[in-house]
């Protein structure tokens, strides 16, 4: 058939044409979005708010676990000695415990001293003086070396201490820390559930936006099919639009999360200073922010993929 010479030569190589086509569509779909700033912004804002909520909650939760990890490290074992143990025996036990590998620090609370302190602090001074015998035992407080990866070490140490013959009871009071961790765990699960639901919401929002977009561009789709546009070619601008919604929503969600953390930080610092702590809220780390944006981008692409799959095949030229 008489075609102009070089018709094929003027075409780029398939791979280059493919890449050029993608780059062109990427930019063009961004251009389309910026030409309707109000509606694009609203879609992006909806995505951002839906994602900022769980990510903000996760940041707060991470901060809470960060604080409580410090408490875990301050675990302390109280070793109550048998009432028959003399002060001398107690002191030699302290020396012995000091040599233990798993022990950071040992100190002793003398029972005479303890009674004195108790009577002055509690205000039961008269009642206590009337006691014939000091009811308190000597107490040794043991600061174990904490290896967060080996919680079994502390339990092992506790067992060893309980087996010593002068020891009545060695007690590790970590129950409340465990409860706190359990609560944090529940909170974390709750946040993941919220995040999943809101993630689905984002998927639907993007899907619906793209669906409307497809309907508005029906004419363009028909014409493109008639002049030889492949399904992939027609799909592409919509997928990239979803991609941009995702990226925009992710960036905006990051901004919202950082702003909210910034607003809370002042009050948290004030509270921390009341506890003589230099604690500061930590916002999203760079890698967390990147994951947030990547997740959002994934949702944007996913939403548009669903819409395109469902609605593009309905449009055929007639």
């Amino acid at each position: 058939m008489p075609r102009a010479e070089g018709n094929q030569l003027a075409k780029s190589s398939p791979i280059k044409a493919w890449a050029v086509n993608h780059a062109r569509t990427l930019i063009a779909s961004l251009g389309t979005l910026t030409r309707q700033p109000a509606s694009s912004f609203m879609t992006i804002a909806v995505i951002a708010i839906a994602l900022a909520l769980p990510s903000g909650l996760l940041v707060l939760l991470n901060n809470a676990s960060h604080v409580s990890v410090g408490w875990d490290n301050s675990a302390q074992i109280s070793v109550f000695l048998k009432a028959s143990t003399s002060e001398k025996q107690a002191r030699s036990l302290v020396k012995k415990l000091n040599l233990y590998e798993d022990i950071e620090n040992v100190s002793m609370i003398n029972k005479t001293q303890a009674l004195k302190d108790f009577s002055s602090i509690s205000g039961f001074g008269d009642a206590i003086e009337s006691l014939e015998k000091n009811p308190l035992p000597h107490v040794i407080t043991v600061q174990p070396k904490v290896d967060p990866t080996r919680p079994d070490k502390i339990r092992h140490l506790l067992k060893q201490l309980n087996e010593l013959k002068q020891v009545e009871l060695a007690q590790l009071d970590l129950q409340w820390v465990k409860r706190l961790f359990a609560m944090l765990e529940i909170a974390q699960r709750g946040i993941w559930i919220i995040a999943s639901l809101l993630g689905i919401a984002v998927l639907l929002v993007v899907g619906n936006t793209i669906r409307l977009d497809i309907q508005n561009r029906r004419e363009e789709i028909e014409v493109t099919k008639l002049i030889g546009g492949t399904d992939a070619f027609i799909r592409r601008p919509f997928l990239y639009t979803g991609f941009w919604y995702g990226i925009g929503g992710g960036l905006f969600a990051w901004l919202l999360t950082s702003l909210s953390i910034g607003l809370l930080d002042g009050s948290v610092e004030q509270l921390a200073s009341l506890y003589n702590s230099g604690f500061q809220l930590r916002g999203l780390s760079f890698s967390e922010a990147l994951s947030l944006i990547a997740f959002s981008c994934f949702l944007g692409l996913g939403g548009s993929w669903i819409a395109v799959g469902r609605h593009l095949s309905e449009i055929e030229p007639s």
């Binding site: 075609r3 780029s12 492949t230």
Partner: protein, 229 residues
């Protein structure tokens, strides 16, 4: 180029739009397709453009049997066809240039090449100075010519036109038909559906006419039986 071999098209409702149509449009030939509205002209063009599939019979385009073409191959077959519609089907959200460039973008032409070819196509239809215009600001005849520029910009082997002069006055209609004749002179096969019998007579090309879905007159019967599609 186009060979219909006992082609019938029955729509789901039972209406038979084409029955046992056979003809052969040789490569490089230009022909008119006439008939009353409802005679099956549009259906015939739709079968060639793969918008519809034949219910019976064989339809060969450039040697390819269109009855057995898979859906994923359709775009590539359409790229060798330029289609011109009565109502232009221009996209009003972009300039004349971008409308005409669409087939080249789809086919993956290089940027510089696109500019060159779009201007050449616009020059051929006499609209070179309108490349930056919005299609909506153009007259009906000008819009039709933009549609033609879009149909020929990628140098297809076949041009199909469905009532391209339907909304135009006689003088503009004649200009459009002469434009098609010029493309035909450089070797493009052309099939134009039209009911403008006076104009067709003036142009002097073979005529195929349909009546209620059946072939009534085949002006191509003697023209190109020697050539194979």
């Amino acid at each position: 180029m186009i060979r219909f071999d006992n082609v019938s098209k029955r729509y789901p409702g039972g209406h038979e739009a084409l029955s046992n149509v056979s003809f052969h449009l040789p490569r490089g030939e230009m022909a008119y397709l006439t008939g009353h509205s409802g005679a099956g002209k549009s259906t015939l063009l739709k079968l060639i453009a793969l918008i519809e599939r034949p219910s019976r019979g064989n339809l060969l385009l450039d040697g390819v049997n269109l009855s057995s073409v898979s859906n994923s191959k359709i775009p590539y077959i359409r790229r060798n066809i330029g289609i011109i519609f009565q109502n232009h089907h221009l996209l009003y959200d972009r300039t004349v240039f971008d409308n005409v460039a669409l087939p080249l973008i789809i086919a993956g032409f290089q940027h510089r090449e696109i500019g060159k070819r779009v201007r050449a196509a616009l020059d051929q239809v006499g609209l070179l100075n309108k490349e930056k215009a919005d299609p909506i600001t153009l007259s009906g005849g000008e819009q039709q010519r933009v549609g033609i520029a879009r149909a020929i910009v990628h140098k297809p082997g076949l041009l199909l036109a469905d009532e391209p002069t339907g909304n135009l006055d006689p003088e503009l209609s004649r200009e459009i038909m002469e434009l098609f004749a010029r493309f035909n002179q450089v070797g493009v096969s052309v099939l134009i559906a039209s009911h403008d019998l006076d104009l067709i007579k003036q142009m002097g090309n073979p005529v195929i006419s349909l009546n209620q879905g059946a072939l009534e007159h085949n002006g191509l019967a003697t023209a190109g039986e020697s050539e194979h599609a």
